[in-house]
Symmetry: C2
Subunit: 413 residues, 2 copies
């Protein structure tokens, strides 16, 4: 049916708090994913993935009440199932590992770069949808897992071009905190959980001291807790493999309920204000919500929004490059088939080639190639069609070379 143009005018904005990735943005995003992916694979991690739609119940157990009740996209499907757009990946990977526990060979080294949804007010560094690298080891009930995972985190920073003097890795232990609070203040589990929540938010809430005194009337200073046992061993082992930008910080607890012992966070120390970039820790019991014995697990999650900001602030993002290496300007309709056939030949040799489809004048075609940052051009007309004789031009220098088909292939390879 030949439709008349409609009269309605819809907004071209994306949905609130999510991003459109136009090609140059997408190119930077792909660079970020590639560095994450290549670093994880350099340690032997395997990529997995899953749908963003999950049964809501997997978050109800351990993600944290505030997040599930107020910050998720949760709805009922047409079959009245309660589903959620995943706000984090850890419950999903715990589900997958628990589901094939008997077939998988542990330890597992797994990674994924899922998109995650949070229903919150969009602000700098906090969007409603973001991508997050998740790196996890399952089945290692020993500090060796923490050592490697922190090593992966450090390697990613380095591979993004951030040198060791520009960031530090803060470590802490929930167990040490728990034991300290039990021993010195005789607090029950429920009160300990409250102290943890307060500590996690202490830089965000004003009445932190007051709130702490409601639980511990004489107050309590985290600085009085010293690193000991496992934590000291972790720091020493990291030093031994050349990771020295480590700092003990017992105020660190992380937001999720499921962490069981050591947690860590990577801080940007290069600016005026230190800022937390990402973090993780040990969570040994999460798989038990799927009826399996707890599988020891250590991992971290690193968001794309924060790292993108770091790359742009410190000018570490790579220059945009066109996927096409050669643009063939076409000097008239009758040369189009010939140009397309030459392009096929070049593509078969691994040379990405775009053919002009506008048939504008040659000056406009060259401008178009230049604007699109395609580095080389040739024009295709009578001479090229009949004699396979080309003039290859490098747009950045204006340099021209006369070549046959074989020469063209060699020059562009």
């Amino acid at each position: 049916m030949a439709k008349k143009p409609t009269k309605i005018k819809l907004s071209t904005e994306p949905y609130k708090g999510v991003r459109d990735f136009y090609p140059e943005d997408m190119s930077l995003e792909k660079y970020i994913w590639r560095v994450m992916s290549q670093t994880a694979e350099s340690f032997g991690y395997l990529e997995y993935s899953a749908s963003i739609l999950e049964p809501t119940e997997i978050y109800e157990a351990k993600t944290g009440e505030e997040i599930v009740n107020n910050q998720t996209y949760t709805f009922r499907d047409r079959g009245d199932r309660k589903v959620t757009l995943r706000p984090e990946m850890t419950p999903t990977v715990a589900r997958m590992v628990a589901g094939k526990r008997r077939e998988l060979s542990f330890p597992l080294r797994w990674y994924s770069i899922p998109n995650l949804f949070r229903y919150e007010r969009p602000q700098k560094g906090r969007l409603r949808e973001h991508y997050q690298l998740n790196v996890d080891i399952f089945g290692v009930d020993d500090l060796r897992a923490e050592i490697e995972i922190i090593g992966v985190a450090k390697a990613i920073m380095n591979n993004f071009g951030v040198s060791d003097d520009k960031f530090e890795i803060r470590v802490s232990s929930r167990k040490i905190l728990d034991e300290y609070l039990k021993k010195n203040y005789n607090l029950p589990d429920k009160e300990i959980a409250k102290v943890q929540k307060l500590l996690d938010k202490r830089n965000k809430i004003k009445d932190y001291d007051e709130e702490i005194r409601k639980i511990i009337p004489r107050g309590f200073e985290v600085s009085s807790i010293k690193p000991e046992g496992k934590l000291l061993e972790l720091i020493n082992s990291l030093n031994a493999i050349g990771i020295n930008n480590i700092k003990f910080d017992q105020s660190l607890v992380r937001g999720f309920d499921y962490y069981t012992d050591i947690v860590f966070e990577v801080y940007d120390t290069s600016g005026e204000n230190n800022r937390s970039l990402f973090g993780g820790g040990r969570y040994d019991n999460l798989s038990s919500i799927f009826g399996e014995e707890g599988i020891p697990a250590v991992g971290f999650g690193m968001g794309d929004v924060t790292i993108r900001d770091v790359l742009l602030t410190y000018k570490l993002s790579p220059e945009y490059k066109s996927p096409a290496k050669l643009y063939i300007c076409v000097l008239g309709e009758k040369y189009l088939s010939g140009a397309m056939k030459l392009a096929s030949k070049l593509r078969a040799e691994g040379i990405n080639t775009a053919v002009d489809l506008s048939l504008k004048n040659v000056g406009d075609q060259v401008k178009y190639a230049d604007k699109n940052k395609i580095p080389y051009i040739i024009c295709f007309g009578e001479e090229e069609q009949n004699n396979e004789a080309y003039k290859l031009k490098k747009l950045s220098s204006g340099e021209e070379t006369r070549l046959g088909t074989t020469g063209l292939i060699t020059a562009l390879k």
Copy 2:
């Protein structure tokens, strides 16, 4: 807080009709995305992306009533906005192009591999979530765009290892059909649309002939329509650049309302039953729903589920490869730091290296490397620690070579 293991037992199944990608599945999926992406880029197409969450209204205009009302995931967010998990990518890309029309330099060659959601009964080849390559040209009001787009579709099939004798590309024109129906039966637009819908479903509905006779009492045979004008020119131009597996098939109309003229579909002709694999066409007016003048557009969408099935059926999928090239077996806790430092050195040379974290006996460590398809191993103990003397073993052949650190790097590169 030290949590006790919970007593609940949640299902480890994913949400109905969506897939978990365990590492070997993910590896095949990434291969599919890579072939799609590399082929599109070999023609100079730029990748873009957007969120799966879109305002529902962008589908209400032209996607087709049946799809929006019965087959989408649509809900209201906490701010009472009506949002939809995208069932297709074309309205999104039309929104993005319309939104930056003045900044973009046309023609645009764009591609994306989004995930799409449909609320439907899961069945072979039809899941609730799938990935779909979208390839589009914007700004070319000429057959040149169709020629190139069909060329990309063919190149993708070839790059997946499907030779020309195993598939055919069927082409047709909505305009030719419209004009034929107007001229021969004097049908108004509304009735023409009904005939199109019936044709699209003619292999799925039983009373096709009866339904057609309700509109055209004496019935009508699509085979009486012959290719002419533009369509004939398209077929000839494709032949001229070496694309010969083209067939005219006027019964082809495609499901979406927004197509305006030429449509095409790729058919698998290698099995007993021809099956449609994917398709596309010209849609010149879609951007007008965003208040912009219609931007000429031609494109297609190719789903991952169908092509995955083709690859598995015809044994065209590549063998699974581990990302790690080397596994370092560790002969005791005290050698772990040394092994990790060697691994860092190898990774810096681009050699993906996994270090054992289990400290099981060496036989189990080797078995683990083999099960994970890691091709090479070394053991790391006293000799390796003190003298940097390694025995590199290739697991497939059992072949061993004695090497120093430099030799190890050279051998594995």
